[in-house]
């Protein structure tokens, strides 16, 4: 078995503030792990829509994050199997990330929301159809998994996945081609929501060139800036501060930053970020063979989840997609 080079280690910071005049914070987030094979880094933020028609969205965002973490653990376990198990091909993993995970996640979220409704609604409440019930729980989601072998991320609705590359370039790889106007967003409660999940797929072929900062935020942060470039400048500044002053200094002021942003966006504002701190000794990993090219790659899931993925402009072409049913097919 071959080993990778030095593995990246990640440190994290996180914070969330309630929007001005909001009765509760409808954002939810979670972060765990270090980015190693045994402890994959998993991050997620979700933004419950919050208005009267989404009265239970604070629960919907919590369900979204909790269920994503479960799905992400499964994904990471597939990508980095323990012991002598042979890891699946990157092509198979990419297919899983683009089609299987979004469908499983949305299905689990809907089941969770409908189950919660069944347990907690009273007979006095008006009879609602299942889609109406799901609307009550509407939420967005941005989630990411980093293992020594793979960096993958998913987004449904607004919010941002921001990546600062090893050479300092700020990218927002899952930004839609055309942003929704106003405060409308796609949602876990949308019909066939799994088709609206955007996926970022970036196998790590050169650990030394892994991103140095990965950040997940709800739209309360980005919408506080007068322009998109202002948000990117914030991310560049965050990266600079982490490099120059260290994590503790940034942790100390993060609540103040988020509160200021929230005053301008009026929205709950959440940030979860991970940045490279060091490298660790090499660990067991994938078999030898050509991997898909590294770097950001985003693509919206096409309409048909089964079968080989559609080629997309920013999606790396797998070595061979002729047989996606065999996870252990050699690369």
């Amino acid at each position: 078995m071959r080993t990778h080079g030095p593995l990246p280690l990640w440190d994290t910071l996180h914070g969330s503030v309630q929007g001005v005049n909001k009765t509760r914070n409808q954002d939810h987030y979670d972060v765990e792990g270090l980015g190693s094979a045994g402890q994959p880094l998993i991050m997620a933020v979700a933004d419950g829509h919050g208005s009267a028609v989404h009265a239970r969205s604070h629960l919907g965002s919590r369900f979204a994050v909790d269920l994503f973490v479960q799905q992400a653990r499964q994904f990471a376990a597939l990508a980095e199997p323990r012991g002598e198990l042979r890891p699946p091909s990157l092509a198979w993993l990419m297919n899983y990330a683009q089609y299987t995970l979004p469908r499983q996640l949305v299905s689990a979220w809907q089941e969770k929301a409908l189950g919660h409704w069944a347990r907690t609604s009273s007979h006095e409440e008006p009879a609602l159809s299942p889609p109406d019930k799901l609307v009550l729980y509407g939420s967005t989601l941005v989630g990411a998994v980093l293992t020594p072998r793979v960096f993958a991320a998913w987004q449904l609705g607004d919010g941002e996945l921001t990546v600062v590359t090893d050479d300092g370039q700020v990218t927002v790889p899952l930004a839609p081609d055309e942003a929704d106007l106003g405060d409308e967003t796609e949602s876990l409660c949308s019909p066939q929501a799994w088709l609206r999940v955007r996926t970022h797929w970036a196998p790590v072929t050169t650990p030394a060139r892994a991103p140095r900062l990965v950040s997940l935020t709800t739209d309360g942060l980005s919408k506080s800036f007068a322009s998109d470039s202002g948000f990117r400048q914030f991310m560049a500044g965050l990266d600079d501060r982490l490099s120059a002053e260290g994590a503790e200094c940034v942790r100390a002021v993060l609540p103040e930053w988020l509160a200021k942003a929230s005053q301008h966006s009026g929205d709950d504002t959440t940030l979860v970020a991970a940045w490279h701190t060091a490298t660790a000794p090499a660990g067991p990993a994938a078999p030898a063979g050509p991997a898909a090219p590294a770097g950001p790659a985003g693509a919206a899931a096409p309409a048909e989840p089964a079968g080989p993925p559609e080629p997309a402009a920013r999606t790396p072409e797998p070595a061979d997609i002729s047989d996606m049913t065999d996870p252990y097919r050699s690369e």
Binding site: N21, G50, V135, G157, T185, E186, S190, S227, Q233
Partner: protein, 228 residues
């Protein structure tokens, strides 16, 4: 250390546009009551804006009669807004008014970064020009499609079908104002509820399932002696 990195921060604007019928049929008490009702509603709009400090409420007014023209062309922050009475003039060229509004709902001049605009149409009659072309022009703009729309039908002669088409949503109804008291209540509702609706987040496909829009008009009392 505590200074936040990044570009300047700014609240997002809510552009509120009154579209007011100033045809001859509005002459007399109707236009007088309308001027009074909007003037009285401004402090309530200011109150709503203060409750939602993340939104910057900007007001404009357009009148339409034989021609359509801006009464307040440039967006005015609600804090600086003072109502100037409108006067009646001639026909009911709603189509021209909608064409004029559509030009402002494109990007640019409307910024990409904004909350949904509000289009509030007040009319007592039947359009005398190609209003459907005007409505198509509004619907062809990105912000026109997203706009929160409210419509107030003054008196029995108002063409409710036109107002219904303007709303563009079968689950919304024009609000009937058949008396001065009802008109005041309708203006007050349109001034405030629509602004709140414009600044609330919703799932993009909610129109398929949401049965009770957040700005559904109220049921107005009809106990006024003076009925139009």
């Amino acid at each position: 250390m505590s200074d936040i990195p990044g570009g300047p921060m700014m609240n997002r604007p809510v552009h509120f546009i009154w579209l007011i019928d100033c045809s001859y049929s509005m002459q007399g008490e109707k236009i007088g009551q309308l001027n009074y009702a909007i003037r009285e509603a401004v402090p309530e709009m200011l109150s709503v804006a203060q409750d939602n400090p993340a939104a910057q409420l900007l007001l404009r007014t357009m009148t339409f009669s034989t021609t359509a023209r801006w009464h307040h062309k440039d967006p005015v922050p609600v804090e600086q807004f003072t109502w100037q009475d409108v006067q009646v003039d001639g026909m009911t060229n709603l189509g021209e008014a909608l064409q004029l509004a559509a030009r402002e709902l494109d990007t640019p001049p409307m910024p990409q970064r904004a909350l949904k605009p509000v289009l509030a149409l007040v009319s007592d009659g039947v359009p005398t020009d190609d209003w459907k072309a005007g409505l198509r022009a509004v619907d062809a703009t990105p912000w026109g499609r997203k706009a929160v729309r409210v419509a107030i039908a003054i008196g029995a002669d108002a063409d409710r079908n036109v107002l219904q088409e303007f709303l563009g949503n079968p689950e919304l109804q024009p609000l009937d104002a058949n008396s001065p008291k009802q008109l005041a209540a309708a203006i007050r509702w349109a001034s405030t509820a629509a602004v709140k609706a414009a600044s609330q987040p919703v799932a993009g496909f909610a129109d398929v399932t949401v049965k009770q829009p957040p700005y559904a008009p109220p049921v107005l009392d009809d106990d006024d002696d003076d009925v139009w």
